[in-house]
């Protein structure tokens, strides 16, 4: 059963000349229990994809279903409730509140759920025990090492028992030992049945993933399933060998329906880049659908 279904999801930022296309008609289906690594160069739209999936951001176009419910046009309050109950976030910069203790930070999502204070703190404490830093409960985030801080952030993401965990470069600020610790932790969580999406630049970490998605310029250009414990070796190849064939057809039909919404001034400068993207996107989407079918 798919937990995430994206159909032609696009995300535009800015207006007029300054418009940038962060996601370009992305199609992606993620099944329950998958451990997906998202890779790609900076600015390729990985974070935007995470934000859209995690309901922090809304897609400009397209359809997004989370747990088979339409989630592309939610009101802010509905989105907040789904974030609270279904999604757990882990950020590269930890994003703990500096003025609260670790325990209070972990208990924060429960606060917004309306759990009583004592129960909140008990659950938060249990969660900290699970991530192995229970002895740091009453420390403030700035008193912890990077790895410990990220552990606390993971505890916070887990405290509501979310079905989906989204980690945007969870190891980006950490040394390799701490990275391994964090990834082992995520792998443990995956074993408990959670669906995990994580963004990384480090091909080594795809060892932990069951599926690797590569993005470029807002599109998914490659999508492969990997065995646990093996690095997805196609990563680099796909990233740096862009398709060379150019078909006349694609060039002519290059302006997508989406780009019609962009004012004319923007169109000329955008057109050449657009056409290459179109090609890669087509290739990627055909692969995605093949994968989904298999």
């Amino acid at each position: 059963m798919p937990i995430i279904q994206l159909e032609d999801v696009s995300k535009l930022y800015g207006f007029g000349d300054a418009t940038t296309l962060a996601l370009d008609e992305v199609n992606l289906t993620i099944e329950k229990g998958e451990f997906v690594a998202v890779m790609g160069p900076s600015g390729c739209g990985k974070s935007t994809l995470m934000n859209v999936i995690g309901l922090l951001d809304r897609p400009s176009h397209g359809n997004y279903q989370l747990e088979n419910k339409n989630a592309s046009r939610l009101r802010p309050n509905q989105a907040a409730k789904i974030r609270r109950d279904t999604v757990g976030f882990i950020f590269q910069s930890y994003n703990l509140l500096p003025r609260l203790t670790v325990l209070e930070n972990v208990a924060l999502p429960l606060t917004y759920k309306g759990v009583t204070l004592t129960r909140r703190l008990k659950l938060a404490s249990q969660m900290l025990e699970r991530v192995g830093i229970q002895d740091r409960e009453y420390f403030y985030p700035n008193q912890l090492s990077g790895g410990q801080t990220q552990c606390a952030a993971i505890a916070r993401a887990l405290v509501n028992n979310p079905k989906l965990i989204i980690a945007d470069e969870p190891t980006g600020n950490l040394d390799s030992a701490s990275s391994r610790l964090i990834m082992e932790l995520l792998a443990d969580i995956h074993k408990m049945g959670n669906t995990i999406l994580f963004v990384t630049h480090n091909p080594e970490l795809t060892r932990y993933a069951t599926r690797v998605v590569y993005m470029h310029d807002g599109s998914i250009i490659h999508d492969e399933r990997t065995e646990l414990g093996k690095v997805a070796t196609r990563a680099r190849k796909v990233l740096y060998t862009l398709p060379e064939k150019t078909s006349e057809e694609d060039d002519l039909a290059g302006v997508s329906a989406l780009m019609k919404g962009v004012p004319d001034k923007a169109a000329p400068s955008r057109k050449p880049r657009k056409t290459t993207k179109k090609r890669t996107k087509k290739a990627a989407s055909s692969k995605t659908s093949r994968k989904a079918a298999s």
Binding site: P76, R84, Y112, G114, V115, L117, N160
Partner: protein
């Protein structure tokens, strides 16, 4: 839901605790506003109560007849009369007028007040401070003033050299605590003390002359001492029926006017008129100053709004984090609202405490008797809370409306 509110309250309080100095400056506006509102209104209230207390003491139906042509530049002036500020007299009231008032229909009690000049020689020496007043037996009833010792002048004392003293006069004249039966000399005649008044709690009839310093002697004695030149500066009267006070006042006016050959060189005042006038003015002034103070409360509110706006901008990232872990707009809103109201309510409470301290010093070092009523405390605290909520709304709404991803991105 209850625990939820408590959670917000804690979050709000935490951030208030976090930036103590900034919060103090924010609250200062509210503190000054609340303090000044309460102080001003309490002073006004005190003055009003003093005025009202006087009326209550004298009774609202008291009628006063005074000479009307008051001339401050009159040459008629001596030590004791000179202290009768605003009561410099052209000498237009006399025994005849007293008789008119006494015989007017509906008048129950009448007492004239005449002022005699001169120096009193008592056990302790000369006494110049007080008034020596000629009056009749009804005065103590008219003033509702009780005696500390002895009795007041009675009808039997007419023509006798007896006197009743105000409490201060008694202390100034004699060494003994209770100088009943002691005597003093005045205009060469010996007067025997018959009674001593209790302290007059306020100064009836005019603000300047303190009856605690006065010496009362029979009216006809005062006349005979001065060969009928002692000016009668007031005639007090009380009607049988308080409801008829106005009617009686009119007939007194007509009566005296007839005796004076149609000249209106006197005025007949009813006590409640005086009071209505003065407390009206006090009320007006209180409202005026309270209005000015209310503006400072408003300015305090704007200060709170500014600090909250800065706080919202500074903490955008925090708002983003809170939203990412599932805070709804409403929850963010209430957090910031609680923060703003905590600030302003704390300011209000500090303001109230400060107002009480100021009240204490005013009572101790000035003549003012400010009265802080619970209504004004409640009002000022309530207004400060309202200011916090109203001016906290705009920043709170700004914080709550922010899209989570934008909030998260800002540092």
């Amino acid at each position: 839901m209850k625990s939820l509110t408590r959670g917000h309250l804690k979050a709000g309080l935490d951030s208030v605790r976090g930036a103590k100095m900034r919060n103090f400056w924010t609250m200062l506006g509210i503190i000054i506003g609340v303090t000044s509102v309460i102080t001003v209104v309490s002073i006004g209230e005190g003055v009003k109560q003093q005025v009202n207390g006087q009326v209550h003491h004298l009774g609202k139906d008291l009628i006063t007849v005074q000479p009307a042509e008051l001339n401050p530049k009159t040459s008629f002036s001596s030590d004791s009369i000179g202290s009768l500020a605003g009561l410099r007299i052209t000498g237009s009231l006399s025994q005849r007028d007293v008789d008119v008032v006494t015989t007017t229909k509906g008048v129950a009690l009448t007492a004239p007040l005449s002022a005699v000049t001169g120096t009193v020689h008592g056990d302790k020496g000369n006494y110049n401070n007080g008034l020596i007043m000629g009056t009749t037996a009804d005065l103590s009833n008219l003033l509702n003033q009780s005696m500390a010792y002895g009795v007041f002048l009675s009808d039997d004392d007419i023509g006798q050299n007896v006197a009743v003293l105000g409490s201060q006069a008694a202390k100034a004249l004699f060494d003994v605590d209770v100088p009943l039966g002691h005597s003093f000399t005045f205009h060469g005649q010996t007067f025997i003390v018959h009674g001593i008044f209790n302290d007059f709690s306020d100064t009836p009839l005019s603000a300047e002359d303190d009856f605690n310093n006065a010496i009362f002697i029979p009216y006809d004695v005062s006349e005979s001492l001065t060969n009928n030149t002692a000016p009668t500066y007031q005639i007090l009267a009380r009607p049988n029926n308080p409801a008829q006070a106005k009617l009686v006042a009119t007939s007194i006016t007509n009566g005296i006017s007839k005796v004076h050959g149609g000249n209106h060189d006197f005025s007949v005042l009813q006590q409640n008129q005086n009071v209505a006038n003065s407390s009206g003015i006090v009320n007006l002034l209180t409202r005026l100053i309270a209005g000015v103070a209310a503006i400072s409360l408003l300015v305090g509110g704007v200060g709170i709004m500014n600090v909250m706006l800065v706080s919202v901008a500074e903490r955008m990232h925090e708002i983003g984090i809170r939203k990412a872990v599932g805070a709804t707009d409403r929850q963010i809103l209430s957090q910031f609202m609680i923060e703003a109201s905590t600030l302003s309510l704390t300011g209000g409470v500090i303001g109230v405490i400060l107002a009480y301290i100021i009240e204490f010093f005013l009572r101790a070092y000035t003549d003012l008797q400010p009265i802080i009523t619970w209504q004004i405390v409640l009002l000022a605290t309530g207004v400060s809370l309202a200011v916090g909520i109203i001016f906290g709304t705009i920043p709170a709404v700004k914080a709550a409306r922010k899209a989570p991803i934008e909030a998260l991105r800002s540092e």
